[in-house]
């Protein structure tokens, strides 16, 4: 009896990009995920192994694809804000901001100073929250359980702030074209201030736990190295790029929403390994706290929204007394507004890297095309490059270090 070796490469295997050489006995294929705690969602990685050394790592995604970009084409500009939260679901404010800035570029408007400062405050608090999720889960993957509890304790306070502001903890949709849905409620700034004052001591706590920990260092130093040139070609951005020593941050390079009014610096790494990414994100949390502190101190008075009720719905109490407000209210929630024909892309620095919405307007109240530039999606392309020649256990550390969110990758 003869064995037909060509049968090994079934259509299904080939479709997944895995080519098995029947005469090569040295390589082994190991499937990791999609249900694996360290893949931070539903990511599947097919690892080609030589012994325990990784030859190739092929990510497979799409398990939580929900067609958000398609859905966006069927929503009016103002109503599509709510679906942008669902992409990168741990930094919703920043998604909202990226979408809103693109719409505002199409319209050619800018909110007043208080609106911009409030947006920046929300985004920087959200960046801290996102980095805390990253820190907790990344440390948990590597085996340091305590950090998770500490990090999520502070994140809880940030989610409480979101809840106090908007009534929603994770999907606030608070930043909308023209400004924000509302101003901060009484007492909110005081709670923010309390958090901002306390936070540096909390970062010290996390660092005490793992910074000098020999196991942590052993697991992260010299692992998953990328060079800056590789990052450019692969489109890798954010803390992963900055860990290679490039101080590139869109908050400095292409300032948006008054961020250039604040005083902060861009932390960078040196070697571009997992440990450097960890150091960069820890330093970034401190910088975000600095920005939030300055925003709280200098918060200007005045309106938060543009003075145009064709873009921003009139306040609820005006509907009882003003016929014009009723007309605007009706028009904006039925017909929406019509930006001019054109295309807009405004890049924003998200906790993962460069995020931006590419909007194509044909002059109708619906975006003709709404496309997200997902930083996690682009950063994931570097996975195979980082894993080559490393061990399986390092894959877990590397995935954690690029901080992927599958909601954003699959959309």
């Amino acid at each position: 009896m003869t064995l037909d070796l060509s049968q090994l490469n079934s259509a299904a295997t080939l479709a997944q990009g895995v080519q098995i050489d029947p005469l090569d006995e040295s390589h082994m294929i190991v499937n990791m995920g999609p249900q694996h705690p360290s893949t931070h969602g539903v990511l599947r990685i097919v690892l080609e192994l030589d012994g325990e050394t990784i030859v190739k790592a092929t990510p497979h995604m799409g398990y939580v694809h929900t067609g958000i970009e398609k859905e966006g084409e069927y929503q009016q500009y103002l109503k599509a804000v709510t679906i942008t939260d669902r992409m990168d679901y741990v930094s919703a404010h920043i998604n909202n901001l990226a979408y809103t800035l693109s719409v505002e570029k199409l319209l050619g408007i800018q909110p007043p100073p208080r609106g911009q400062y409030l947006r920046m405050l929300l985004c920087e608090l959200q960046r801290i929250a996102s980095h805390l999720v990253w820190l907790g889960t990344h440390a948990l993957d590597i085996g340091a359980m305590t950090v998770f509890f500490y990090a999520f304790r502070e994140r809880e306070k940030l989610l409480d702030l979101n809840e106090m502001l908007s009534g929603v903890r994770m999907m606030p949709s608070w930043i909308v074209p023209g400004g924000l849905r509302g101003d901060a409620p009484p007492g909110w700034f005081e709670r923010c201030k309390a958090f901002v004052d306390e936070f540096p001591y909390r970062v010290d706590e996390y660092e005490t736990l793992i910074d000098q920990n020999p196991i942590w260092r052993e697991r992260t130093q010299g692992i998953g190295i990328l060079t800056a040139e590789e990052c450019y070609g692969l489109g890798v951005s954010g803390p992963t790029l900055r860990a290679c020593g490039i101080p590139h941050d869109l908050r400095k390079a292409a300032p948006y929403s008054s961020i250039d009014h604040f005083d902060f610096y861009i932390p960078t790494g040196e070697y571009g390994d997992v440990y450097d990414r960890y150091r960069v994100r820890m330093a970034e949390m401190r910088q975000s706290r600095e920005i939030a502190k300055q925003a709280l101190e200098r918060m200007p008075d005045g309106p938060i929204n543009v003075d145009d009720h064709k873009i921003v719905p009139p306040p609820r109490h005006e509907l009882d007394t003003s016929m014009e407000a009723v007309i605007h209210h009706f028009k904006i929630w039925t017909e929406g507004f019509r930006p001019p024909v054109g295309e807009a892309y405004v890049p924003v620095e998200s906790p993962k890297g460069e995020i931006g919405f590419y909007l194509v307007s044909n002059g109708s109240p619906y975006p003709w095309r709404m496309h997200l530039r997902p930083p996690s999606f682009m950063n994931l392309q570097a996975l195979s490059r980082m894993c080559e020649g490393r061990l399986i256990a390092d894959v877990v550390a590397i995935i954690g270090s690029i901080d992927i969110i599958l909601g954003e990758i699959d959309r």
Partner: protein, 217 residues
């Protein structure tokens, strides 16, 4: 390598430097230059896209080393069955390039440019950019998945977000929103519950089981 026209952002002709340089270097390849709210979008010929991307990446005064992304756009109005905005081709692929200011080497300009190619419906093929920017790999797979545009020379052109056996390209405008079948038809395949009591997403929302409803396909 052509001599640089000028080192400032705007060329002598008043056009942005990138557009002027491309016109000089590829006189027959630049089709259209559009300015909108400070962004420049240059439409180029499809068969020259690889050369143009390489030029933008390597020209010392441009240095578009950072591949931000590429995306597809479908300009077919499915109701009127004609193209909107007077487009000549149904699809467009937009390359979003950025020049990272690199403080170590002092290179990079911090500018952003959008390069577009038109893609006709009857011949949806574009030369791949993966040879110039390895990062084009995933976005090109996504465009192939969503629009059915093939990238010639791409090392691994497979679907990326939809499942491997999916039929059609969902981001095309003539692909309707909603109405597609659930992934566990009638609870007969996949993680089936059969005629069990437990509700699951593949089943009716009215508390009836799959067999009571009959084959809905």
């Amino acid at each position: 390598m052509a001599e640089p026209l000028t080192t400032t952002e705007t060329a002598a002709s008043g056009e942005r430097l990138e557009a002027a340089l491309l016109r000089e270097r590829f006189p027959d390849a630049v089709e259209e230059v559009v300015e909108f709210r400070g962004d420049t979008r240059i439409t180029v010929r499809r068969d020259r896209i690889q050369d143009i991307l390489q030029f933008l990446r390597d020209a010392p005064e441009l240095q578009y080393t950072f591949f931000s992304e590429c995306l597809g756009v479908d300009y077919l109005d499915p109701n009127a069955e004609e193209l909107i905005l007077g487009k000549k081709h149904r699809f467009e692929v937009v390359y979003n390039l950025y020049s990272v200011p690199d403080t170590r080497t002092g290179r990079g300009t911090g500018r952003r440019i959008f390069i577009k190619v038109g893609v006709p419906e009857d011949d949806p093929v574009v030369p791949t950019a993966t040879g110039v920017y390895p990062g084009a790999s995933f976005p090109e797979r996504e465009i192939f998945d969503m629009f059915g545009i093939r990238f010639e020379g791409h090392p691994d052109l497979r679907r990326i977000l939809m499942s491997d056996d999916w039929v059609g390209h969902p981001q095309r405008k003539d692909y309707p929103l909603g109405g597609e079948r659930v992934q566990f038809p009638g609870g007969k395949f996949g993680p089936s519950v059969g005629d069990g009591i437990v509700q699951h997403p593949g089943e009716s929302f009215f508390g009836r089981t799959a067999s009571e409803l009959g084959d809905r396909d």
